[in-house]
């Protein structure tokens, strides 16, 4: 899946669906992430890992997309974890309250551990 500045791929490790997000997450590119989330949800995913690119940029529009996903996953009783974020965006996610719905991990390994 490619949507201008963002490239999305989906993989699976055990029972965890991993959405790999490379590039900038914005209001304009957010639809690709929403589509990927809808796809893994339709496939019955209960555990989802959003794996961001450390060099990628996430603006407020992109955060709104993630809020939507977090809110929907809570209703569907899915668990979402996040990894790959730079320390700056970890702080931003905390600031906007996303960490109330998702947990942020420093690496893929630590995110998958005990998921």
């Amino acid at each position: 899946m490619t949507n201008r500045d963002v490239e999305i791929s989906i993989s699976k490790k055990n029972d965890v669906s991993i959405i790999n997000i490379k590039g900038d997450v914005t209001a304009n590119t957010g639809e690709a992430i929403e589509n990927a989330y809808q796809k893994v949800s339709t496939d019955g995913a209960e555990k989802i890992l959003l794996y961001f690119d450390k060099d990628g940029y996430i603006n407020s529009g992109g955060i709104a997309v993630l809020i939507g996903i977090a809110s929907e996953s809570a209703k569907k009783k899915q668990t979402i974890r996040i990894t790959g974020l730079s320390s700056h965006f970890q702080k931003i996610f905390h600031m906007v309250g996303l960490t109330k719905y998702t947990a942020i991990f420093p690496s893929e390994e630590s995110a998958l551990n005990g998921f």
Partner: protein, 411 residues
Amino acid sequence: MEDETAKLFRGPLRELERSQQELERRIFHLKTLYDLGQEIGFLKQPSEIMKNLLMMIMGTFGSSCGFILLANMRTGKIEAFSQRSMGKNLIDTLSQMAESGYFKELNRPSGIQILHDGQRDSGEDRQKILDFLFSCKMRVWIPLSINENLKGGIGLGDKLAGDDYTADDQELLSTMAHQGVVAIENSMLVEQMKKDESVRINLARYLSPHIVEQVIKKNMQVNLGGDRKVVTVLFSDIRDFTRISENLPPDQLMKLLNEYFTEMARIIFENQGSLDKFIGDAIVAVFGSLISLEKPAPAAVRAAIQMMNSLSIANKRWSAEFGLDIQIGIGVNTGEVILGNIGSPERMEFTVIGDTVNIASRFSGVARAGQILVTKETFQCLNTEIAHRELPPIEVKGKTGKLEVFEITYR
């Protein structure tokens, strides 16, 4: 000793951490303002701008849900709407509220409003919408005003972080909303310019550039579809065209005809007529169709006289250049026609159809070179002092009885 040192630094460290958080927050907000320009500045449709504006605002404040709408205060219709994580029936309720004119009241005290439970307002309509917004979990309302008619706002739900919308937040919200309004205004302006250009291109086929500009500038009503209307039709035909076409080489014939049609079209346009079509060497002009005219018949007859007079001047030039001249006969009739775009989807033409056109054509056919023949219906609309003479009535195919004929004697 270590405990004492830790105690000593605990306060300043906490303060430093708070300052750092505040700094991060402000940097994030500054970046957001820059990003907002990128996200909404280059979009063409107001609906896309509104969608991205809502997303940028919700992401900045971590709002759990929200919506944005613009309603036409005159028609009471919602023109654009976008929502995130709101109930499915929201748009229906908002549409009803817009139709009832509630949003006019809501935006009366301009500025951002923090919504809270048990909020009381003196206005009944305002109270209803405030209650509704609160029941939809909206906690803040940011009014938007594009112009006198197009107004609306942005409703935001609770922050995920759980804190309230602060005075600082309201300041940033206000700035972002303002940026959104400017982007929507610009996009509407571009849309209007495109629409004007499309109108200009379409109308230029039938009307003079001057009238086209008037239509656009004054936003005049142009009748484009499937209407019945009383108009005056002018039908003009070249007499003895076969002689002309046989005596001139093709390039010279084209030059002569183009000069002739250009001059005739100019006169028709000058008299506020529209050029319906050229049929071979014939010209069909309509007065009072695209642009409503108070008196279409006198305008058509005035055009017919000017066409004849202009032709006699041009003929002197053409006689010298081409060795021949052009003579025309004109028929004018007034009556009801059906006007509209007729044709296939690939090729549509604005035209008029009906008996009125056929009779004008028949009168033109009967007219000798240099004659202007008008029907009784046209003649009755003219100034009684106009020079004329009554001719013997003529028969017209499809009409029972003969039709009265009046010749306009302009010479």
